[in-house]
């Protein structure tokens, strides 16, 4: 078990080095990246402390544009495919997930049965601290998501959203 854990940590370290080698990304302390070969970053991106990025084992991509900042403790789960436009900024502890549990399945199994839906966030979006972006969400350009909101569905450019489920602020 100790060897297994050591090997795992070495693999994670290697993925982090590969990320820093390939892309113009500022990687702060405690960042974890898995399946780095399916992840790409544009210019001058920042992953603040404790960010967790999970690529895809399903042939999908996690594509992050230029000048994107992921706030401390953020989580990007990209199994279903994830695209983040240029200049989009996340506050701390934002979660973007492209997967969700299949409640129709037998939930007592070694591995959970999951469903997937891609997420697309447009250019110049601001996502407030603690927000959760659910699978299948599409945001246009320059959208604002209030802190702790839970976002579902498709929204056009310049939409301001808040709440759970997040609704348009009129």
């Amino acid at each position: 078990m100790i060897l297994k854990n050591l090997r795992h940590r070495l693999r994670l370290l290697r993925q982090l080095w590969l990320l820093a080698w390939r892309y113009d990304v500022l990687v702060e302390k405690g960042v974890t990246v898995k399946y780095v070969d399916t992840v790409s970053f544009g210019r001058r991106c920042t992953l603040q402390s404790g960010v967790y990025v999970y690529g895809s084992r399903r042939g999908n991509r996690v594509q992050v544009g230029d000048f994107v900042a992921i706030g401390a403790g953020g989580m990007l789960l990209g199994e279903g495919g994830l695209s983040i436009g240029d200049y989009t900024h996340f506050g701390p502890r934002v979660v973007v997930t492209t997967q969700y549990g299949d409640a129709e399945s037998d939930m007592c199994q070694e591995e959970a049965v999951l469903k997937y839906a891609p997420v697309k966030l447009g250019r110049g979006c601001w996502i407030g601290a603690g927000a959760v972006i659910m699978p299948g969400t599409v945001l246009g350009e320059r959208c604002i998501v209030a802190p702790n909101s839970v976002v579902y569905g498709s929204w056009g450019d310049r939409t301001s959203l808040s709440g759970n489920p997040a609704r348009r602020q009129r």
Partner: protein, 76 residues
């Protein structure tokens, strides 16, 4: 109103509009899961300019109930 609801449901569930009959419900539409249910809720609110209560969100589990609730909320 029924046709607009049908169109939104077909779009959210990724099925043909013909599959959304008056008897359509969470039991008959295979794609109707918890995530798509929330997608349906926000899409209906946007389309009809209404806001469902938490209890209504829990109960919008069939085409008939959706139409009934929208009428109660004064949607046209």
């Amino acid at each position: 109103m029924e046709d607009r609801v049908r169109r939104i449901m077909a779009s959210v569930f990724g099925v043909d509009m013909a599959q959304i009959g008056v008897e359509a419900s969470a039991q008959t539409v295979e794609q109707w899961d918890s995530l798509r249910h929330m997608n349906l809720v926000v899409a209906l609110e946007e389309e009809f300019g209404v806001r469902f209560t938490d209890q209504q969100i829990d109960e919008l589990l069939s085409f008939r109930l959706i139409v009934l609730t929208l009428k109660e909320l004064g949607a046209k």
